[in-house]
Amino acid sequence: MRKGITVHALVEAAVLVALATVLSVIVVYRAPQGGSVTPASMVPLLVLALRRGPRVGVMAGVVYGFLQLLIEPMVVHWAQLVLDYPLAFGLLGLAGFLGRQPYVAVVVAIAGRLASHVVSGVVFFAAYAPPGVDPWVYSLVYNSTYLVPEMALSLVVVFLLNAGTRGQILRKVG
């Protein structure tokens, strides 16, 4: 296949996207306004990016974003749709750039996702709220309430998986 995406990488990405989707419906804690903490739903995408590099990781994130859009659509603006779904999860693929430091990679990737949700929140406020509310602060605080715990939990899970498989799972392939 062109540009070095092997059939194995493509299929592994697809199956891990399916796994992430399955895990995303196991809820550990639900935030008051929608965001929910699902301890491991980002982990398959992060593991994939670490194993197969940023390109495959970003592609898988985009596909996962579209699937989330189909499962629980929350659409308030066309730019918000792009920012909250394909882009936010696509940014998780950034983890692939930091394969040597998996824990730093997890933090960077989830920070990328957070940034996308924050901008999307600002778009929402620009379109719907009257002037006088600082959208950046509100959006950052709101999105952090569920993503920061989720980041901590993802780190724990990646650590446990890495220890449990003696580093096999995160080893770079292909």
Partner: protein
């Protein structure tokens, strides 16, 4: 299993209505145009046109109205917040006072517009997923993204990934359920304790799931390679997307709607 949320991937209802039969490319494009045009509407007339357009589409689609508003619950809070903020924070002629808060006529008008905007988005997005199966949505997206291949968008690979993922979600779901029950039979506890404890308890679920996912991926990739799958180039399909007269009609109607709504925004004699 109580820990699983109810999940339906794209709440597709099969049918043979005019809307069901439209080409997915047409439907995705119409929804995209509608979403952008919606944000230029700023008068009652413009909203009237948008509501009429949406109502026509809903009537033609023959889907139960209740299904269209199924996605309402997660945005209910937003609807309320938006309406209240607009009502009280917009300056203008006084409608009523509530302690220090002053509601205005202008606020009421804007509040109603914003709520209509959110509701129209919700209905139109639901209509797309109700009348288009996930697989044809994927085909449509692939076709729409294909021209961006020249700037490096791997449309075919993304669509193939989506199709395989859709195929494996039910399989892995069943497997997760089975593994959970097996571990619970051995005394695993997924549902009590603080969040950290619960995450730890998920490891005996996650490790087998990952192992099985890798194994399935390996088997499928080998099967595909041995049948000479080599990506999108020069690949032929069994069912080709065909746009017909119906699609032309729908596109024309959308174009008229878009021109009227955008025209109303900048029309000098309102």
């Amino acid at each position: 299993m109580s820990m699983f949320r109810d999940i339906t991937i794209g709440q597709y209802l099969s049918g043979s209505s005019v809307v069901h039969r439209l080409d997915p490319r047409t439907k995705i494009t119409i929804v995209g145009v509608f979403m952008v045009v919606l944000f230029t509407a700023a008068s009652a007339t413009a909203y009237g046109v948008l509501i009429a357009f949406t109502a026509l589409a809903v009537a033609l689609a023959h889907v139960p109205t209740g299904m269209l508003f199924r996605g309402l619950r997660p945005i209910l809070f937003l609807l309320l917040l938006t309406f209240v903020l607009q009502l009280f924070l917009t300056r203008g002629r006084v409608l009523f006072e509530l302690g220090p808060l002053v509601a205005t006529w202008e606020g009421l008008r804007l509040g109603v517009f914003m709520v209509l905007r959110l509701l129209l988005l919700l209905v139109v997005a639901s209509l797309l997923t109700l009348t288009t199966s996930p697989v044809s949505l994927t085909d449509g997206l692939e076709a729409i993204l294909a021209p961006f291949g020249v700037v490096g968008v791997p449309a075919h690979e993304l669509a193939m990934m989506m199709t395989i993922a859709l195929r494996f979600i039910p399989t892995l779901m069943e497997e997760a359920d089975k593994i959970m029950k097996a571990q619970m039979a051995r005394g695993a506890d997924f549902e009590t304790g603080n969040p950290l404890r619960r995450v730890r308890s998920l490891v005996p679920l996650l490790v087998p799931l990952f192992v099985s996912a890798f194994r399935r991926a390996d088997e499928l990739a080998t099967a595909m390679e041995s049948r000479c799958y080599r990506g999108g180039t020069k690949r032929t399909r069994l069912n080709r997307l065909k746009a017909g007269a119906l699609d032309a009609l729908a596109a024309a109607a959308t174009a008229v709607m878009a021109l009227v709504v955008i025209g109303l925004r900048w029309w000098p004699f309102r």
